[in-house]
């Protein structure tokens, strides 16, 4: 009995060390500013919101984001509660989003409505939908992965 109690204490002590895996890791020793920004944004969102954390803990997907007007991108590899951010586009992506910087920022400003669906009928949502229709926002792999895209949008959204 005594020993098992000591064991619990010991495990607690180990858990508190800095070796505990962080929610967001960077594949490169020198992550790009864009990679750090997206990683930081997602981490802050997930830590601040239990619903986003639930999505984060179940999401398994490789999401590429390419910002066309700065010719820079990242790949976000979600692995059920862990995110690794890569500089640039990595192979075997589930979804790839290609848009200008302003549109990428708009994506993170999409409101989330009933049943966790992104809202496309307010000002920000309409502008995102219009860009999708006009080809200024391209999402490869969108149709077979709508549920994944919605989950990524929820995690990404600051609203």
């Amino acid at each position: 009995m005594h020993d098992s109690g000591s064991g619990r204490m010991a495990r607690r002590a180990i858990k508190a060390t800095s070796k505990e895996p962080r929610l967001v890791e960077y594949a490169s020793k020198e992550p790009s500013a864009f990679a750090e920004m997206l990683g930081g944004l997602i981490e802050a969102n997930v830590l601040a919101n239990a619903e986003k954390k639930k999505d984060f803990d179940t999401l398994v997907a490789r999401v590429g984001i390419w910002v066309t007007d700065i010719e820079e991108g990242v790949t976000l590899v979600f692995d059920a509660g862990q995110l690794t951010v890569y500089n640039g586009l990595e192979p075997q992506r589930t979804i790839t989003i290609r848009a200008e910087a302003e549109t990428v920022m708009s994506l993170s400003n999409l409101k989330i409505g009933v049943f966790g669906m992104p809202v496309y009928y307010d000002e920000v949502g309409r502008s995102v939908a219009l860009k999708l229709v006009r080809g200024k926002l391209k999402i490869d792999g969108m149709l077979p992965n709508i549920a994944t895209l919605n989950r990524v949008t929820r995690i990404f959204s600051v609203q």
Partner: protein
């Protein structure tokens, strides 16, 4: 009349532009944090000492904008840091501030979700800087 870049006169005109902007008034609703701009020295561009622009912004209004030591700006809730010539590029519309931040040309410190939520307000703030006529020290 043009004013010296990042001087007290510039800060006054910048504040007037922000408060004239109906776009900022709407987009900045709910904002309640201070913003510091650190303009790093570039002696070869005749900007010998770093300066700090401290912006007291509240609910769509600029209550005060002052220019002083860089250390003052570094104490703000949000701090954006770049060398003089980068800020000049922003103020002359050569560099979009959003792109600059994504590229790491402008370094941002502060709560990311909050600043992203106010992207439109920060874009309009940048627009306001472009409306202030400026004398650039490296052009004299």
């Amino acid at each position: 009349m043009a004013v010296k870049a990042f001087s007290s006169e510039w800060a006054e005109l910048f504040k007037d532009e922000v408060n004239k902007s109906s776009v900022y008034k709407a987009a900045g609703k709910g904002w309640k944090w201070t913003v510091g701009l650190v303009v790093e020295a570039e002696p070869d561009k005749h900007f010998p000492e770093s300066r700090g622009v401290v912006m007291d912004l509240f609910d769509g209004e600029a209550r005060d904008i002052t220019v002083g030591p860089a250390a003052d700006a570094q104490k703000c809730d949000f701090v954006i840091t770049a060398p003089y010539s980068r800020w000049k590029q922003v103020a002359t519309k050569e560099l979009d501030a959003t792109k600059g931040m994504l590229q790491g040309k402008l370094k941002l410190k502060g709560d990311l979700p909050t600043i992203v939520r106010y992207t439109k307000a920060s874009q309009e703030m940048t627009e306001c800087t472009t409306r202030v006529p400026v004398e650039w020290p490296d052009e004299q």
